[in-house]
Symmetry: C2
Subunit: 151 residues, 2 copies
């Protein structure tokens, strides 16, 4: 008779729910973003850059993007290079400190914001998600993120 391991059942694991939901969300965004020539992580990077533009803090160092997105340069450097090839951003060494690479939006990258501004509402519409509920879950997840990000 096989001993049972309920703690190892997939359904019991929060980790699996988060992992799956994350991929499903990316898949939900994908067709909308493809129309804008973007991938999902590229879209997230643009969110940071657009907000920096509103706050008058462009250009921003790569390190700033790393911290906001919790991604390292092994991910962001090639991603930003692809976005540069696509004409959305420009990258250049700072003259103050030759170590830092400043990332700035191009005209095209800035202009994309208007089309992108319709994306969040469209996602909610397509997925039929409840906004208020989403807001609450977001708060709960943010607490978990903070906890994990420390450790």
């Amino acid at each position: 008779m096989a001993k049972e391991y309920p703690e190892l059942h997939l359904d019991n694991q929060l980790c699996f729910s988060v992992y799956t939901l994350s991929r499903l969300i990316t898949q939900a965004y994908q067709p909308l973003l493809k129309a804008l020539g973007l991938t999902y992580p590229q879209y997230l990077a643009l969110l940071v850059l657009w907000q920096a533009e509103e706050e008058g803090s462009l250009p921003v160092p790569v390190k700033f993007l790393c911290e906001k997105l919790l991604l390292d340069t092994g991910t962001l450097t090639p991603l930003l290079k692809r976005m540069e090839v696509n004409g959305l951003v420009v990258r250049g060494r700072s003259s103050q400190d030759e170590r830092v690479v400043q990332v700035n939006l191009t005209e095209a990258g800035l202009k994309l914001r208007e089309q992108a501004s319709k994306v969040p509402a469209e996602i909610l519409c397509r997925t039929g998600l409840d906004i208020a509920q989403g807001e609450q879950i977001k708060e709960e997840l943010s607490a978990l993120i903070e906890q994990l990000d420390q450790a």
Copy 2:
């Protein structure tokens, strides 16, 4: 004066919380799983196989794993091949239906379950997550997953 796009701010997006939390969770598992010679998706695949073993339903078709994990063969085929190389599973065509590839656990793959059974508790301990809270969030996320998986 720059027009503002609050709907495009990173902090406002549930999607970003889920995306980040998913990566942080994977990172939390990583050192524990590395000690077992596993990656996180490989661990998830084993969860399915171990449960199938308990239920006496081994071997299982690749399609079964695809449905449980919500992953396609483009991800699972190479993953299962790596696990086969590592001696955890064996793959073979069904004689009833030559299209289906049956996946079974090896002795080593089965034996790994005992060490892995300590992983979930260890994760909770290390991350300091609240179990009861996690349980509730899991239910909420599962509802979202079902919603997205339909669409």
